[in-house]
Subunit: 369 residues, 2 copies
């Protein structure tokens, strides 16, 4: 095992900031990294070899397949590419998890089959099906494309019949899913990791704040979480991991509806709501993902003290103002700021929640959030 | 300031594991790194551009000088190279600190001038001077080359007149220093950092264990440190920083002689006895060095709970056995193991000292230490 880990090469489909942070964790452990991404100069190029090619480029996949293990940091890679790699080398997580995660209908059907609460949902391919589904699901509701949605894209909230018509005209070219509109108190997520040996570790629930469909802030651990809420979340994510025979880090996004958890979606990869873990947990999600896919023992997922993660979106910041806040750490992905683009994040810790709140408020002022 | 930090390039003389860890911290903050090292494939190549050339290569220095700021991770770079760079760009720490640190006689003279305790010492250039010095310093004593010593190289313990003759025959081609043999209880060090604005932060004293002149283990913080011992160490290192108008991280190695501290040497750079800080302190020495030389606010140097660092020397390890120990993290530098070569390190934390001791013992067994 030793010779296969120290100096081993990990292939990664996708070379964005998630790949870059995987690479930083991997380099620290002495791994070599090779990233496949269609975009030259992707953020991960800073920490490994970047192969610039399409995800289905056969010669690029051939190169990646010479790695000790292959993973992905982007969930919209073609399942066919993962299946092709699976014929040649170890790939974690595998194509099965990816197929489920790429399709909101499969995903929610999987939740339902596992006894995990979800909003009501129905598949919608035609205008007639939408009308029929609206009768059962009721208004308000959310119409979403089954595939390729992220950061609030590919979805519409329906409050009236007119909204439904307009949304169907816009989205109806793709297979759709209609979901009941959930009146939740807050959005939570749970990051979990399962290793090749079947060992599972889960981070505590975290609380997420979105604006315009984009994550702005995570509080870790989520405040005011009862033991039963934590246990429910853990049971849900463990069911998903087992069911998919999953290896690696997985995020499960949840709605907290008066203490009842409804599953929104899974991300079969390291996740933005887990970035706090670099400084905030005993083992970062990136290190644990690598440990899992290399068959190493998992690291502790404990969060020793309250912490928060703030996304930096669309514009630069003044590092001086950020780093003047006690125990704040600045992560910058080496991307050119553009509207709605995630260009970095800040982690901040504190001995108690009131102090954390103060520090977060100071940081939010400093970044104009 | 913002535009000069985010995406700024830092030039580094030396591309070893210290450069690699500086690079990992820098990449996380969005910095670009350029390393100058005579050896192709140096560890830092994993995290930045490696310019393979001698430290006095004029065109290589010219390239480095286009960085926002230049620093070094190896203290035996020629002072002339640093002086040449200082004509062209910001260099921290500067040539003055380097000159003092490169010469044990200057270093100890500096300690003496600042009122910092040292073992008795005398300059020795001839056999006659050595004989005269031995009369004043007494036996046992330690004869050292003034320059280019590291990991116990370039020194000899003298217990008899015969030892003195033999050591002088071996080392006498270089300028020497004779030091009194110190009967210390333990070896300590203190890592401190001073920023371009003059802000100073010091990590708590740590305790170091050497074998064969090579660091094997650091306990952070050092056990059983009285407030006055901590205050003395802090006062000493702050005097050195101010005196040298120092910018960046500096390590001061100390002997603890029944609660009286004697200064052994300084290292004008990030230091092996500070590696614990990656997981063990709120801000790592690498992040703080970069913050300091870029003129950013320094990060907290607090050590929240007991931790230890174990060096991996000369041979490979079984990562599985290491990572099975709770809260252990493995760092591997991407070097081929060779006798006495530092190829990686392990950090481990624990809620209390007895638990830490147990974990360290387990790790020592797993690495055959």
């Amino acid at each position: 095992m030793a010779s296969r880990v120290l100096g081993a090469r990990v292939g990664v489909l996708g070379g964005g900031q998630l790949g870059r942070m995987l690479g930083l964790a991997g380099r620290s452990m002495g791994l070599e990294l090779q990233f496949l991404d269609p975009t030259a100069g992707s953020p991960a190029a800073a920490v490994g070899e970047l192969v610039v090619a399409g995800y289905e480029d056969e010669s690029a996949l051939e190169r990646l397949a010479t790695s000790e293990v292959v993973t992905f940091e982007f969930e919209n890679v073609p399942v066919s590419a993962i299946k092709s790699l699976e014929q040649r080398c170890a790939v974690f997580p595998g194509s099965r998890a990816l197929e489920v995660a790429q399709d909101r209908l499969h995903e929610k059907t999987c939740f339902r089959a596992l006894g995990i609460g979800t909003p009501p949902f129905e598949a919608v391919d035609t205008w007639e099906q939408l009308q029929a589904a609206l009768v059962r699901v009721g208004l308000p509701a959310v119409l979403k494309t089954r595939r390729f949605g992220y950061d609030g894209k590919g979805q519409a909230v329906l409050r009236t019949e007119a909204d439904a018509k307009e949304a169907f005209d816009r989205l109806g070219g793709s297979p759709l899913i209609l979901e009941g509109f959930v009146r939740f108190q807050r959005e939570l997520s749970i990051i979990a990791v399962r290793s090749r040996s079947g060992e599972v570790a889960t981070y505590p629930l975290v609380q997420n704040h979105h604006e315009g469909g984009i994550l702005r802030k995570t509080l870790a651990p989520a405040p005011a979480v009862s033991d039963s809420l934590q246990a429910d979340a853990r049971a849900y994510v463990e069911k998903v991991l087992q069911h998919l025979d999953y290896v690696g880090v997985l995020a499960l996004e949840l709605f907290d509806c008066d203490g009842r958890l409804l599953a929104n979606e899974i991300a079969p990869r390291v996740h933005n709501t887990g970035h706090f873990s670099i400084e905030g947990a005993r083992t970062s999600q990136f290190e644990n993902h690598l440990r899992a896919i290399l068959g190493l023992p998992l690291g502790s997922t404990e969060i020793p003290e309250p912490c928060a993660m703030l996304n930096l979106i669309g514009r630069s910041v003044d590092p001086r103002a950020v780093l003047e806040v006690p125990d704040a750490h600045l992560h910058w992905y080496g991307k050119e700021p553009r509207p709605n683009r995630k260009v970095g994040h800040i982690t901040v810790r504190a001995p108690d929640v009131p102090t954390l709140d103060e520090r977060v408020a100071r940081l939010e002022r400093s970044i104009g959030a």
